[in-house]
């Protein structure tokens, strides 16, 4: 006997969509709200910047000028800004566990549901 799903009313449908919406917006805005978002560069400007000290040759100086940076001082911050790639191993392991755990969870629950689908579509296995 095939599984007969209940019919969902209009209110139920609206509530379900709403739940998904709240989850989505929450996932997007929570890190922003908690101020945990994004990686920024930190500039380490030189004291008396010259194009030579900043390692820019003649051609590159011409390019900077065309982009609206006429002298070394104006490009100082942008040239010396660097990312910080130090990270904690604990955080890395936590992330790895979460990613792998997520996929394992989804595949295992799917497998259970999939067996039902196949059984209903093709009939029970005759052994």
């Amino acid at each position: 006997m095939a599984y007969q799903p209940p019919k969902q009313g209009l209110v139920g449908q609206i509530v379900d969509v709403f739940v998904l919406l709240v989850l989505t917006v929450g996932a997007l805005y929570l890190p922003l709200y908690l101020g945990l978002a994004g990686a920024a560069k930190t500039p380490q400007p030189l004291e008396n910047p010259t194009w030579e000290a900043l390692g820019q040759n003649a051609a590159e100086q011409q390019q900077w000028a065309a982009l609206g940076y006429p002298d070394a001082a104006s490009a100082n911050e942008m040239i010396t800004a660097r990312f910080d790639y130090t990270f904690s191993w604990t955080a890395l392991i936590v992330m790895a566990v979460v990613v792998i755990g997520y996929f394992v969870l989804v595949v295992r629950l799917s497998e259970k549901e999939y067996r039902e689908v196949i059984a209903e579509r093709f009939g029970d296995r005759k052994n």
């Binding site: 890190p31 040759n57 390019q63 940076y69 629950l109 196949i118």
Partner: protein, 464 residues
């Protein structure tokens, strides 16, 4: 086929089968080409010029695997929803629900990012012409609404439009490359940073650069969303997808070459519109206008393709009752999933008007990345449950399981790259998918008819 099925089929509405391989190419490349006009260059900022080029090619390899795997599965499971329908037939319902969400999130976020970029571009032009403080909101809203309406009116017009503007944007990149090569630039190409400062962050920089290296190609897998509207999916989908990835490999390499040669890498790593900036450096006003139009067209094409893909995925989930069945409706005249298209408009607007660009891009990349990870084991399971020779495949990709393993390896490296700097977002995103999965498994799935989910005329999978 008997007469009764023919009669029953007449009372039913389906999507319209009108597209050819050119439209598939336009859908895939149209979504992605904007990546060459903005975004990819952050990879140069993350690791330097060489890292940018390595990321461009490693990501190219990743997407070649994606395109090969996808072509095989989708030429066999030809249904709207693409990877969603694949997951449903091969892995199981919960995975399918997750994949459907990956698709909708990745494309809706990308659509929002495109609308933000159009607003920014118009603001820049207004500024150059002496009007400061342009209100970007009406233009962002108009972009999303106008493209939604185009999609509402029919898939053939939407994708023919996409074909024209995508081709223009691609030609613009080639024209820029050729003009610079034949001396149209007042400023010489300079690659000295490649030897002077090859890897400012060392090898770690190359891995970190992968995060934005994906942006060169992100979305090419969207070609399979058109499966139900293509005249001959088994031929057109592999052809359009493969032609698309080749186009992008060429465009990505040319873009890296021209931009790295004309723009100091420290600037390039921060640029909002790198190709347009490269045209500005040449000092040639003709090139500037060309690349401005190219940027605008690429962005529009991408937003247009995203609306098409996100609504197909949402529609398919509604049709299977993974979401309220109300969304599974087809417009009786235009034959488009009109309710899904309309519903996703305000969602895109929330993201476009409320969130910062890099946040939106990262969420789009992450959803894409989760989708690629899924493809690896999906492919292995597909070959195991239906080995070659048990069902007819439109295309069989070579060297299985090498592409799947390679894809998994590169996905792992990319997770690490995202972790350097955007770890919090990764965790937030995964928490969202975990909660949504539990909600689906324990609540929503009760409304789904079990056997009806399996729609392909295939034999029973091996081992079940």
């Amino acid at each position: 086929m008997s007469n009764t099925t023919a009669a029953a089929a007449q009372e039913r509405l389906g999507l319209l089968r009108v597209l050819g391989p050119g439209h598939v190419w336009a859908l895939g490349v149209g979504i992605v080409l904007v990546g060459e006009y903005m975004g990819w260059n952050f990879s140069v900022g993350k690791g330097g010029m060489i890292a940018g080029l390595v990321a461009c090619w490693v990501a190219g390899l990743l997407y070649t695997c994606v395109a090969m795997i996808d072509s095989e599965v989708t030429s066999t499971v030809a249904a709207a929803g693409g990877q969603y329908a694949q997951a449903k037939h091969i892995v199981g319902p919960l995975m399918a629900f997750n994949v459907g969400l990956f698709l909708v999130m990745a494309y809706t976020m990308l659509e929002a990012a495109n609308a933000i970029t159009i607003g920014f571009l118009l603001d820049t032009v207004a500024g150059m012409l002496g009007h400061s403080g342009l209100n970007q909101k009406p233009f962002i809203i108009l972009t999303i609404l106008a493209l939604a309406w185009l999609n509402y009116r029919g898939v053939l017009a939407s994708l023919s439009f996409n074909f024209i503007i995508t081709a223009f944007a691609f030609v613009a990149i080639i024209v820029l490359f050729l003009s610079v090569q034949f001396g149209a630039s007042a400023v010489p190409l300079d690659f000295s940073a490649v030897s002077n400062e090859p890897l400012p962050y060392g090898w770690l920089g190359i891995v970190a650069a992968l995060h934005f290296g994906l942006w060169y190609y992100l979305g090419i897998e969207g070609t399979c969303q058109a499966a139900e509207e293509v005249r001959s999916p088994a031929r057109s989908l592999p052809f359009g997808t493969m032609a698309g990835i080749m186009t992008l490999l060429i465009a990505a390499t040319l873009t890296w070459y021209v931009c790295s040669g004309l723009i100091p890498w420290e600037y390039l790593g921060n640029a909002g519109t790198p190709l347009f900036d490269a045209a500005r450096v040449t000092g040639n006003s003709g090139l500037m206008v060309l690349l401005f139009i190219g940027t605008a067209f690429a962005t529009t094409a991408s937003a247009n393709g995203c609306i098409n893909d996100a609504s197909r995925a949402w529609f398919s989930m509604g049709r299977d009752r993974y979401l309220p069945s109300w969304f599974g409706a087809v417009h009786p005249h235009y034959r488009t999933p009109y309710r899904s298209i309309v519903f996703l408009v305000p969602i895109a607007l929330i993201f476009a008007l409320g969130a910062p660009l890099d946040q939106v891009i990262t969420f789009s990349i992450l959803s894409g990345l989760l989708g690629y990870t899924f493809m690896t084991f999906n492919m292995v399971m597909f070959r195991r449950k239906w080995p070659l020779g048990t069902i007819k495949r439109g295309y069989v990709h070579p060297w299985h399981p090498l592409p799947a393993l390679l894809l998994l390896l590169i996905c792992g490296a990319t997770y690490f790259a995202v972790f350097l700097g955007y770890g919090t977002q990764l965790i937030a995103m995964l928490s969202f998918y975990i909660i949504a999965s539990l909600w689906f498994h324990f609540w929503r799935y009760r409304f789904v008819r079990r056997g009806d989910q399996f729609t392909m005329p295939w034999p029973r999978p091996i081992g079940y």
